[in-house]
Amino acid sequence: MKKTFLLTGAAVVALGAAVAWVATRPALDAAAPAGIAILDAYKSEVGRYVIPPDSDILAEPNVDQILYGKRLLADTKRLLPDNVGAQMNCNSCHMLDGKIDAANGYINTVNFYPRVMPRAAREVDLEGRINGCFQRSMNGKPLDRDGPEMKAMIAYMEWLRQDVPKDQRVDVVNAGVIDESLIPDPVRGQAVYAAKCAACHGGNGEGTFDQFGDVIFPPLWGDDSFNIGAGMARTYKAAQFVKWAMPPAMHLTGQLGQGGVLTDQEAVDVSEYFTHMPRPDFAPKANDWPNGNKPKDARY
């Protein structure tokens, strides 16, 4: 009889242990974000930057302004039809609300301006830079520099900066590197376009639109695309974006909008192809690069 008791006891203890083990098994959750190095002028790390979730905006005193700015960047054509001539949104090029490395992020933007820019050959501030985008990439009209729309867009970028001081920068790049010594071949580029781009941007670069007529994938040439004054109209500048951000949705891990699918040569070829397709002119182009030093891929 003693044996039976002993066995029963052992069974109860084993069962209890099993239940306890399952109950105390830690609930898995997301790992804490690693953050990105913040560098000072000497490129030494002085802190870590964590891409803030949008929910953090809710704690800001100007929450409405920041969220409005976020919406304007994402739905620019719909919300600012008078200022946007093309079928484009800011986020068409500045993927994921600018929270991204190597694909025109906004993380360091506020700290980058004002600055003397070679194309204008004078100091350009952030308002001036944003309006440059509206006139060139968006083929539209500048915003009121002091209007609520401009202030809201800058408020979003200011929030995204997360108080990183002016003389420091978060270790992300605006555009990844591309080998500019490569000779572009638009014929090969056309084939790359058909294979890797047309599924979204359309066989004739016409873009894709939703039930409301709002742009899903922007047109890459034609009247509704960016004009020849846009950075994206230049072969190597476009190739940087194509190489590092296109095509999106290709990887199981990492952020959306990370390319890395095409070779440098393919990116240069396809960029040569689509940048040189017909697109709107940019009237004030005569004022660009007044001191010379025009880049080799400028369209005029």
């Binding site: 997301a30 949008d54 969220l67 609300d97 294979a195 979204c200 409301f212 999106p248 199981l252």
Partner: protein, 446 residues
């Protein structure tokens, strides 16, 4: 003490009789079909290749990047991982020494030439109904057209005593008894063909029919209770309900279904997980007539009792999000992480990014697939229909709380309505993903 002695004796005798019966089944239950097949007949081989496609043999019996049919892919079961075997005609490590009778017995009855029983991870319970003509063509194809590869089989990780094979004879007698294909009552030629493919070669029920305690499919063909193809969870994926009812295929048209089977996507959704493999390896190669037959048969499966038609609610989400109101729980997270592809109207981009609105995977009774694809990402099948196959990245870096709120939002927006997803659901899926087997046996020498 005396009672214990008798009990022990009785147990031992029962075990001995059970064991004896089990190991003898190979002689008295499974007669060999020793037909002689002309394995050089090109027409037969071609037909066999089509049958192999329909049976999707390559998907389980090939590791990513490995030689076709050489085995090694792991299948996760609650007790351990079972690795698919080498079914190339290599005489040493494959099935090269099999006669037609051996082959037929293995494929249709789950018995190896040495008398050992196969694990029912091999869907022989479904292959039971495959016709003799198809089976003979399949044999000709495997023996003549498949390249022999010398590759040893990988043992399972199922621990002893559960790994013993002789009790499988009992499993076999209980759950995979001999049967012939019976056309559904009153079915026309097309639906009959669809039923034959779905029940047999395509073995759709292996994933889509719920399983019982002994891991058996609760129904192998249309049943009165309507359990057949009513949805089941396997490897953390919810293989959706395929019956023509509410959260099943009621919202799908036959044409949408055919497009999905052939290309892995339609305007509404895209295949992911194991279904992506099924489309890529199997379904895209079937004729339009066979795909139509499959679709029409599935649409003929009647709703279970009480499963009224699923109707979407009014879409209030699209206008709210477009107006910039992100105050609903989960809405801001959605706008931050999902709108770039799935858009404010939840419609995605047709044939590129799947819609969330009206997508039955999103509002399925069991949210496992939605949770797993959101955590681990998903890949569309590659087919000639589309130049690009897109990939959804995983969002495991978001917290359980954020993900639970987000998925509850997605399951209840744009007119969708379904049960909420909890933080515990997310945590459970993280455990499931963390404990996935290496999906293939390591190659020799690595």
């Amino acid at each position: 003490m005396r009672f214990a002695k008798y009990a022990l004796l009785a147990c031992a005798s029962a075990l001995a009789i059970g064991w004896g019966t089990a190991i003898s089944t190979q002689w008295w239950l499974a007669p060999k079909r020793a037909a002689v097949i002309d394995i050089t007949d090109p027409a037969l081989i071609a037909r066999g290749e089509y049958v192999a496609r329909a049976g999707d043999c390559v998907a389980c019996h090939t590791v990513p990047g490995g030689a076709p049919f050489a085995g090694g892919l792991g299948l996760q079961t609650p007790m351990g991982t079972i690795y698919a075997t080498n079914i190339t005609p290599d005489p040493e490590t494959g099935i090269g020494s099999y006669g037609y009778g051996d082959f037929e017995r293995a494929v249709r009855q789950g018995v190896r030439p040495d008398g050992a029983h196969l694990y029912p991870a091999m869907p022989y319970a479904s292959y039971r109904v495959v016709s003799d003509a198809d089976m003979q063509a399949l044999f000709a194809y495997f023996m003549s057209s498949v390249t022999p590869v010398s590759k040893e089989n990988q043992p399972t990780t199922i621990p002893w005593p559960a790994s013993m094979r002789w009790p499988l004879a009992w499993w076999n007698m209980l759950f995979s008894s001999p049967r012939d294909f019976t056309p559904p009552e009153g079915a026309d030629e097309v639906i009959t063909r669809g039923a034959y493919l779905v029940e047999g070669l395509a073995h759709c029920g292996a994933c889509h029919t719920p399983r019982g305690l002994a891991y058996e499919e609760k129904a192998l063909s249309e049943d009165a209770a309507g359990l057949f193809l009513s949805g089941s969870v396997l490897e953390g994926w919810y293989a959706k309900n395929l019956r023509n009812e509410d959260t099943g295929l009621a919202t799908w048209s036959e044409a949408e279904l055919v497009t999905f089977l052939k290309t892995g996507r339609n305007d509404r959704t895209a295949a992911f997980g194991s279904m992506s493999d099924v489309v890529e390896h199997s379904l895209q190669h079937l004729t339009d007539a066979d795909l139509t037959a499959i679709a029409r048969y599935l649409k003929s499966l009647t709703p279970r009792e009480g499963r009224e038609e699923w109707r979407p609610n009014e879409d209030l989400t699209t206008a709210t999000l477009r107006a910039g109101d992100f105050t609903a729980p989960g809405a801001l997270t959605y706008v931050e992480h999902c709108t770039a592809c799935h858009r404010l109207d939840g419609m995605g981009a047709p044939q590129v990014y799947p819609a969330l609105k009206g997508n039955s995977m999103v509002f399925a009774d069991d949210p496992s697939s939605l949770i797993q694809i959101t955590l681990a990402g998903g890949r569309m099948p590659e087919t000639p229909a589309h130049p690009m196959a897109f990939v959804m990245p995983g969002f495991a870096h978001l917290t359980n709380a954020d993900l639970a709120e987000l998925m509850t939002y997605i399951r209840n927006s744009w007119g969708n309505h379904a049960s909420p997803v909890t933080e515990a659901d997310i945590a459970r899926m993280r455990h499931e993903i963390a404990n996935k087997p290496i999906h293939y046996a390591p190659e020799a020498g690595r």
